[in-house]
């Protein structure tokens, strides 16, 4: 427990400790939290401290959720500084070595607004100067609108990606009644409605669901005739990959199918397409809030079966063999996998930090996970000491010797 606060406690609060990693090298320095300066100054500073003055860099940092986010303008730079507590961890890459870039070309600028709308990064849109913005694949998908082409315009099919994040799904449903047009005229029928959003929850943050939206289907199954409890259980059973079809209470933001017209409709429509395009994504799981002295346990690569409409992710039950090696169960055909352990992460990281000084794969391999292609976990599993078994081991020991760790 105390180890956790050992490092930051004797630092002044106004200073932000920065740990910057480029290749296998680390640099540590500090910044004044109140006067962070501008991004290009910061960029220069990085080139300076790493002694790579002429190298084009991509700058990324680990945010509090453990995600790798880019720093490429003043706003996200300031955000990074202000949220770093106590440590700001930076990951630098050569631009030409990266298998992806933080693009600046005009093609992506159009999507910029889309993505920022989806990801709720309000400060990104305020910029007047041309914004340097990441490609969609730099982000983890949170939600998407799907099946726009087959649904009536008044309906919206929303997919919520619960995987790999701590954020709660965060909404409530209730019974209600809705009016349907039938051959006999208007008819009042019982229905299920969204009654409340949990602030900060996934459902709220997507902006695609709202209070009083009527729920029509859950993962392709109509809810008509089902009780509130049944629908609740269905949603929870599908929570790893929840697809709900709603009739939004506010019909003004509907997707307009023809003509690709302006306004919000086009925006959400394109976002639906773009995030459902079958690309694969990375997420970096690391924890800013955990002890700074020890090196962090390595990254976790999370691959999302984004392209698959009916994902069978829950097949990947975690099996721990007596020897301590853990492997997620997967079907032979699937090329992705997903360790199931997020809830234990804080404990585990702490434990790993406290117990193991040997650095894991980042240090050992000396590379950022840039070379990993999608679906690399099985790969990694086979070749190196990858994080998931280690975590599993940690967890097992945690459970078996019953050490209580309270955070």
């Amino acid at each position: 427990m105390n180890k956790n606060h050992r490092v930051p406690s004797n630092r002044s609060l106004s200073a932000v400790e920065v740990k910057s990693k480029f290749g296998a090298e680390f640099r540590r320095f500090s910044l004044d939290r109140s006067k962070p300066g501008r991004f290009d100054e910061f960029y220069g500073l990085l080139q300076h401290v790493h002694r790579i003055p002429n190298v084009e860099l991509l700058v990324g940092y680990a945010d509090v959720h453990g995600d790798l986010l880019p720093i490429n303008n003043d706003d996200n730079y300031h955000k990074a500084i202000s949220t770093a507590s106590p440590l700001l961890r930076l990951f630098l890459q050569r631009k030409e070595e990266a298998d992806y870039t933080f693009g600046t070309n005009s093609l992506t600028r159009k999507k910029n607004t889309v993505l920022s709308a989806v990801l709720l990064r309000p400060d990104a849109t305020r910029k007047k100067t041309p914004v340097i913005i990441s490609l969609p694949k730099d982000f983890r998908p949170v939600s998407s609108i799907i099946d726009v082409d087959i649904l009536p315009e008044t309906h919206r099919r929303v997919r919520l990606y619960k995987h790999g994040q701590e954020k709660p799904l965060g909404f409530y449903i209730r019974d209600g009644s809705s009016v349907r047009v039938t051959p006999q005229g208007l008819e009042k029928v019982p229905g299920i409605f969204i009654s409340r959003m949990v602030p900060g929850g996934l459902a709220e943050s997507t902006g695609l669901l709202a209070v009083n939206d009527e729920v029509l289907e859950v993962n392709g199954i109509e809810v008509a005739g089902k009780s509130l409890d049944q629908v609740t259980d269905m949603m929870i059973a599908n929570s790893h990959n929840l697809i709900i079809t709603v009739k939004p209470a506010n019909q003004r933001n509907n997707v307009v199918r023809s003509g690709g017209g302006g306004g919000g409709g086009a925006a959400s429509g394109s976002s639906g397409r773009s995030s459902d395009s079958g690309a694969s994504y990375y997420g970096y799981s690391s924890h800013g809030g955990v002890g700074a002295a020890a090196s962090m346990p390595s990254h976790i690569i999370q691959n999302f079966p984004v392209g698959e409409p009916e994902s069978d992710e829950d097949d990947e039950d975690l099996v721990i063999e007596a020897g301590g090696e853990a492997e997620p169960i997967r079907r032979a055909s699937s090329n992705y996998s997903m360790p199931s352990l997020p809830r234990y992460e804080p404990h585990l990281n702490l434990r790993a930090a406290a117990s193991s000084t040997s650095a894991l794969s980042i240090n050992a391999n000396g590379t950022l996970p840039t070379s990993g292609s999608s679906g690399s976990l099985s790969n990694a599993n086979a070749t190196s000491n990858t994080p998931s078994p280690d975590r599993a081991v940690d967890r097992r020991s945690l459970e078996e010797d019953g050490t209580v760790i309270t955070l």
Binding site: D229, D233, I236, D314, V404, T406
Partner: protein, 1006 residues
């Protein structure tokens, strides 16, 4: 082409399904919930009970039972058999009368409603005029006399319910002739009682609430005699010789009035008595007097207790000669009657049948000391509340006999006389096997029931309370019957809902039918291992404490303490005797339990973890804590929940108070204002109802409450580590979707007593969807579930296939999932919740035999969901086969109480005291099949019924000879009966019925 073939296969499968599965609710076991009326037909020897939910149940000889349900959801207030008929009339709370009959159908019998009737008064009359308060089924079998609240008597012809207006006895007719000096003549009040003169069917006595009784001649339509009682009338009884009338009154008195043979108004109160007098007494609600061949009559009455000292007792007093006993029941008396000997049922009273709210008690009046006769049916299952149940199919004869022998020793206080209610014939075939149903109760007892047939018969009762120190004084019930106590109370009946110590409650039971080992586990984390012993034995039960926390810190158990074990030797009667005790620490409810008698191991789980106990060496083999450190609820025990209930109670009281206050504020002595306030309150209430119920949508996480709770535990001999060596293994599934597997190493048999058993962690599976694991089954190489321990050794099961690869079936509340063994990889699954929103509540493995070919059968999973539907899921392919609605989805306790048998039947509680039995199998159906005949007429001169005709008696003989050959004829007859409706019914002398349609439909063509 391929498509076509597939279609063919599907239809073949559909046909097979029809041969294998069929859903029937077959019979209700136990005691009807909230009985409200009792009726008896001496000629049919049938007993009828009506309930508050509108059910009517008929019982005769063991196995003869019928059930009917009124469409109206109203309580049955009275039941009357028409004398010497197979019809009966019920009066409901909503003032409707219903005619039921026992009717022939396909060689068996059926209870069905054939008519309904509601009295209609003159236009504009208040409803009280036609509100029926008393019913007399006249001995002619053709008339029904209905006394009403308004004081009128309506006469109705039955079974057609035709009003005979000209014969009605109006209040005015009676009142005009009442003697002037009768105090209460201005208001005679409602009709309390109607009785027929046993020797002259033309005379009836009409008893009015005010006390006046009038003897009325039905033929002459005039009053013959007035009996001017002045106390509020409760009941009337006309003595058998017609010579006098007994009346009982609200002040606890009864009076005897002579009936004058001559028509002179010379009424005479011969005797008046308040049996428990001096101080004010409660009403005597019913009185009957029955003569004996030689000697004094029996006088029986209910109530009449001294108000202040014994006003709360439920008593029936029986006085015969010098013997006077006040039978003291534990619940309210509904009604009672006496059964009389002899072919005409007019001999000495042989038994007293008392229906009280929670049980039926029959008292043998012919044996010294009037012992209780054990009832073969209607047994109060809930004499202490049922907390769990366990079913064991196909009990070996040896064990069965030993259990019966142990039970016989416990029931020596019962009368030796046979069951006195013998109506009808039980035509059901003998049950194919011996089945046991074990129920665990709140008071720490386990009751063994013979569940093989239609009657759920009590066999043996095991009490575990003796192992522990409890607050109860064992001599508590013995200190009655002290000398000279008045009234002379005698406790009867076994309904005793008060548990001395709720920690004794039984939560899980597992019986090995081959070895006679039994393990039971209770509310305070106690696990007892018992052995069947035919001799009484005095022994000390050693307790072994198991700390399931395993050093887990931050724990505060706020629940109950563990039970205090008796350290001195305890004398255990013959039967199951405990020899080993495990006490979990913390003492939380045991949630999973299993026993392996071959390995001599018991495994158990609670909300904190699970353990493995070697009952041969009396040693713990394994303890595993499954607690999640962030699970506060499990850490603290049940108390914190109580707190939240308290809080919500407080809130609701506050809400009520607030609405009262708001009402008071508006309360001005002004009707309009009051109305306004009422409207406001209503609106408030409506608003409260409108406040929507919300459900949170959130993925399950590992720190939800009770994720560590162990839901299921299972032993299997299978391939856990490699595919060539099978080893004993232990499996446990938790609420958080986690499965733990341990490899067990058992010493060779010759060293079993001294070498330790070891358990080694082998596998741990965390289901991604994290739903509670409710069942674990290992399937052998043929896809069949592994047999029970010792089953193969006793040649009762095919030995499991160890050549092919084994599979692990994990049943969570949401999915059925098959994994390969030993390399636990997912093979197939069936999602239930994600598809239809229902969740698995109860699950069992059953074998279904085909109805068409003797040697074909399949294993399947039987599942009950939270929606109350039963599903059959095929093994090993986990595909849904059939589903049927079974329990109402609101009936949470019914769903939770369900147990499945190994042959596709099941039981669930439809009330605290009744099990509904259902069957999913076409081959294994236990249902009543019985026959009731119209009684041959007695010599009584009152009969005007047609004698049974030649055809029908020939018909009866024919059936007795060879029933199957006559089935077609029967069907034809019943069809004819249907065509000619009621008149043919009346003529039929043989009534055959069937309680269930049982023949499966034959599917025409290929």
């Amino acid at each position: 082409m391929k498509r076509f073939r597939r279609h063919g296969q599907e239809s073949q499968r559909d046909r097979l399904k029809q041969e294998l599965f069929q859903f029937n609710k077959t019979v209700e076991h136990g005691f009807p919930h909230q009985p409200s009326a009792l009726g008896y037909s001496p000629s049919l020897q049938l007993l009828a009970i009506g309930t508050r939910s509108g059910a009517i149940k008929l019982y005769g000889a063991p196995g003869v039972e019928f059930m009917g349900l009124h469409d109206e959801n109203a309580a049955v207030t009275q039941v009357h058999f028409l004398p010497h008929q197979v019809e009966l009339v019920t009066l409901l709370d909503d003032n409707s009368l219903h005619m039921w009959t026992l009717r022939a159908h396909k060689g068996l019998s059926e209870l069905m409603e054939i008519g309904r009737f509601t009295l209609t008064g003159p236009p504009g009359a208040p409803p009280s005029v036609t509100r029926v308060t008393a019913v007399l089924a006249h001995s002619s079998g053709e008339l029904l006399l209905l006394g009403t609240e308004g004081g009128h008597v309506f006469i109705v012809e039955v079974p057609g319910f035709r009003e005979l207006e000209e014969r009605n006895i109006s209040l005015d007719q009676v009142a005009s002739s009442v003697p002037d000096d009768y105090i209460g003549r201005r208001n005679l009040e409602h009709i309390e009682a109607l009785q027929e003169n046993p020797v002259n069917p033309n005379q009836v006595v009409i008893g009015y609430g005010r006390g006046l009784m009038v003897i009325w001649d039905l033929e002459k339509q005039c009053a013959i005699q007035h009996i001017p009682a002045t106390q509020q009338l409760e009941s009337v009884w006309w003595a058998e010789d017609g010579g006098y009338i007994l009346s009982s009154h609200s002040d606890g008195s009864y009076c005897r009035w002579m009936v004058s043979v001559e028509e002179v108004n010379e009424e005479e109160e011969e005797k008046s008595d308040i049996p428990y007098g001096h101080f004010p007494c409660k009403a005597i609600s019913k009185i009957i007097q029955l003569p004996t061949q030689e000697g004094p009559p029996f006088l029986l009455f209910s109530g009449g207790m001294p108000r202040a000292s014994y006003g709360d007792r439920h008593c029936i007093t029986v006085i015969h000669s010098k013997t006077h006993v006040a039978l003291d029941f534990t619940s309210r008396i509904i009604d009672f009657f006496a059964i009389r000997e002899g072919p005409q049922h007019i001999g000495d009273p042989s038994a007293l049948v008392v229906l009280v709210e929670e049980e039926l008690v029959v008292i043998d009046l012919q044996t010294e000391g009037w012992p209780v006769i054990q009832t073969p049916y209607l047994v109060p299952l809930h004499s202490s509340a049922i907390t769990c149940s366990h079913h064991v199919s196909a009990i070996p004869l040896k064990l069965w006999e030993r259990v019966i022998a142990a039970g016989d020793l416990q029931s020596t206080h019962y009368s030796k006389r046979p069951w006195p209610i013998t109506g009808g014939q039980n035509l059901a075939p003998d049950p194919p096997q011996r089945d046991l149903l074990l129920t665990g109760h709140e008071d720490g007892t386990v009751r063994f029931w013979d569940a093989s047939g239609v009657c759920l018969y009590p066999m043996y009762k095991l009490s575990t309370a003796g192992v522990f120190h409890t607050d109860a004084d064992p001599n508590d019930n013995m200190n009655q019957g002290t000398e000279g106590e008045w009234p002379p109370f005698r406790k009867v009946g076994c309904f005793d809902p008060y548990s001395d110590d709720p920690r004794l409650g039984i939560q899980k039971i597992h019986l090995c039918k081959y070895s006679g080992y039994l393990t039971v586990a209770g509310t305070a984390g106690q696990i007892l291992v018992l052995e069947l012993n035919d001799e009484a034995a005095e022994q000390t039960v050693e307790a072994k404490v198991v700390d399931l926390l395993q050093g887990q810190e931050g724990f505060r158990w706020k629940g109950h303490t563990q039970l205090d074990v008796r350290e001195e030797p305890v004398l255990f009667p013959p039967g199951f005797q405990p020899f080993s005790l495990v006490q979990c620490q913390p003492p939380a409810v045991v949630t999973a339990l299993t026993l392996h008698s071959e390995w001599k191991l018991v495994a158990f789980g609670t909300s904190h973890g699970f353990g493995l106990y070697d009952y041969q060496q009396k040693n713990n083999v394994l303890i595993k804590c499954t607690l999640n450190p962030s699970d506060q609820l499990a850490m603290e025990g049940p108390l914190s929940r109580v707190k939240s209930i308290k809080k919500s109670l407080r809130q609701s009281f506050r809400r009520i108070r607030r609405s009262r206050v708001s009402l008071r504020k508006h309360h001005v002595n002004n009707a309009a204002k009051l109305q306004e306030a009422n409207a406001r309150l209503e609106a408030e209430l409506a608003e409260m109802e409108l406040a929507p119920v919300q459900r949170k949508i959130e993925a399950r996480s590992s720190d939800d409450s009770f994720t560590g709770l162990v839901r299921t535990i299972y032993f299997a001999d299978t391939f856990l580590s490699d595919s060539s060596h099978n080893t004993p293994s232990l499996w446990a599934g938790t609420n958080g979707g986690c499965v733990f597997a341990y490899m067990l190493r058992l010493p060779p048999v010759e060293h079993r007593a001294d070498e330790p058993v070891t358990a080694q962690s082998a596998k741990e599976i965390q289901l991604m969807h994290r739903a509670p694991v409710v069942g674990i089954v290992v399937l052998d190489g043929h896809g069949a579930p592994l047999p029970e321990p010792l089953e193969v050794a006793h040649d009762l099961a095919r030995s499991p296939d160890m050549q092919g690869s084994h599979h692990l079936l994990v049943i969570s509340e949401e999915q059925f999932k098959v994994f390969t063994l030993p390399k636990v990889s997912a093979k197939m699954k069936l999602k239930l919740t994600a598809v239809d929103g229902s969740r698995v509540r109860r699950v069992g493995v059953a074998w279904f035999g085909s109805s068409r070919s003797e040697d074909y059968g399949e294993s399947g999973l039987v599942v009950l969901t939270n929606q109350g539907d039963v599903h059959v899921v095929s093994l090993p392919t986990v595909k849904l086969q059939v589903h049927y609605p079974c329990v109402r989805r609101e009936d949470v306790s019914g769903i939770a109480s369900c147990v499945f048998t190994k042959h596709g039947q099941g039981f669930y509680l439809i009330s605290p005291s009744e099990f509904e039995r259902f069957s999913l199998s076409t081959r294994c159906v236990v249902e009543p099949r019985c026959l009731v005949e119209v009684p041959l007429l007695s010599g009584s001169s009152t009969q005007r019924r047609p004698k049974p005709d030649v055809a029908s008696s020939a018909h009866r003989n024919a059936r007795q000879d060879g029933e199957d050959a006559e089935v077609l004829q029967e069907i034809q007859k019943s069809l004819e009966g249907d065509q000619t409706e009621t008149c043919s019914l009346k003529a039929g002398a043989v009534m055959v019925m069937e309680a269930m349609v049982c023949l499966p439909q034959v599917i025409p063509g290929e």
